[in-house]
Amino acid sequence: MADSPEEINKKKKLYMVIGGLLFVFTAITVMVATFEPLDFGEHGFDHVDAIIGLAIAAFKASLVMLIFMHLNHEKKLIYFIYGLGLVMAFFCMALIGWAKFDPIRFGNWEHADGFYNPEKPATKPDH
């Protein structure tokens, strides 16, 4: 932990730089999502935009965690506690995979995207 006045003063400059970086990357996120020449992948929102958006968010989040929350030099215990939380959060996300492997199926499922339509004949009409 930075305790001496000189070290803290040095840190303050770093905090300013990180704050600036966060501002810049926020602007980039918005640009990528709204400015057409920067629209990667298909036109409009698609998985490429999702990956870019989340990657920028993850980068910004790590800056906040590492610098503002001092996780760049912290005691082992903290890493353990916080890591546990992250693992649990990841586990929550992974849980929805169950829905993929165990869908509710009944009636006529004509379409791969899984819409149930009792009125619909089991096969596609020929046209």
Binding site: G19, G53, F68, L86, M88
Partner: protein
Amino acid sequence: MEIPFVVNARKDTGLFNSKVGIWLFLASEVTLFGGLFSAYLFLRLYADYPWPERALPVLPGLINTFVLIASSVTVVFAWAALKMREWRKFQIYMWITLLCALLFLGLKGVEYKAKFDHQAVRISGGGPVEDFGILEGHVHYVKLDGDKLEEVPYENRHDEGVFPANRLIFKASDLTFALKRPAHEAYVDMILEQTPEGSSIKLVDDYVVDGETIMEKGTELSIDVLSDLEDSFLDARARDSKIRTQFEKASWAWIKNEQGVTDMSTYVVETDLWKDRRAADVVAYTPLMLSAAAEVAFKIEPPFNLVLDPDDTPRGLRTNEQVRLRDDTVVKGKMLDSPIIMGVDAIDFSYTAQRAELEDIDPMEVIKTSWILTHEAAHHDGDGHAEEGSGKADHRNDFKKAWDCHTAWLKYETERLKEDGRVPTDNDKYRVNWDQMLAYKKLDYDPEAVYNAAKADDGSLYSTHLFDPSGFAGANHKKYEFPHIEIPRDKIGFESTFTPKWNTYYAIYFVITGLHGLHVIGGALVLGYYLFFGRKMYESNPEWLANRVEVGGLFWHFVDLVWIFLFPILYLM
């Protein structure tokens, strides 16, 4: 007593205790928000309707992101100032942090308000996919003129008798209250408030319990009258059930002591012995029962028009002859025309298109048959604008005109994107957004002009842009006039403001941002406590205060961290 390890580190952990505490808390918070993000992912991946992509106005969210980042910087500066023992600087940085929190919450409030004021209606019935066209806009204000609705200007919305035009108008002639549901105050209040002078609501028959008249025929409805009736009913019912219990107890004693049944398991009740005894019981106690009426009827004379919030009587509980309120009060009478009247700022056919695609029908063909585009405009603007060269009067309603312009715009957009091998999105194709509504209107609903303006790409099409403050939190109905519509009740498949009821996107939006907002409030309260009540501790033990601020700051950074993910996910994806 001195609290150990709040200033100095413990030897085994190398940390002061409150820091371990806050990190344990933050780890649990990560799991909590992880669960909510997981819920968001689940709802989105498995949504059976077109997920609203990039549906929120970006600007308020963007400003809020900047605000939170700035406050993260100032809170860490406040901590650094305490470490350097600069009280004045600490105060300044903490003040800025708190003002940022306030600004954030204020903007959130503006956004929420815009959602609460924004009405959506899904049209139902007709066509191969039951329509499913969606209209979004602001409900106009009306008052009753006899049995007819009369529009009043927005400025007069607070006048007496004025209400938003999404209500049900029901000519009420009879009221029946269910006395076993003793929670009628809210609705009785509402009904009495709306009762016009000259109308009276009177008890139809004497309410009699055990030969005694509790309330005489002709008594006027009031909360006191109703609660007296409820009390007598509940007392009578309690007495009845006491008698029934006594009989049942006697029967249990009889079957055990006189019939020698010692196995008192539940199977006893299946035996003929028990069943016969109980049948005899019923015959014996029935004359002793008070059997007070569970419902009381009131007559409304002369009938008057009751204005009901559709939420007070959900669809399954109402017909044209009677409505059942949520407290089981039944109102009989006649439903009058209760259209939703609004200014429409967006037309969305993406739901229609999705359903059409499932049926293997061309979405554009289905959309053409939608009621939105085919209905006769009640308030026809009557400018007799003729289609060029046809010589005939233009009978298209404003929405059909807007849609024709949209098709022209889409034609150009498709051509333009094709050059790069790209295609328009579903949003491009099936949704006419508020800025497009304005643009088409500005060009007099002339498809050719729209096509040319889009091609010219000189900014002549749109009068607004992303950072236009006039569309800060959505379409601005005060500044612009949007096409007017009167949607008959029987065409309304589903209606709601943009609240959790509308769809799962808004449900998860309000859950996550609401919880995040509560975190902002909680964090600001703690940081505010250090600022306003920290002086004493600063003088006696400044290092302790610095540690406290560090811990509060860690929480604040976490709140920022959550928003860093929320902003792109909710606003940009």
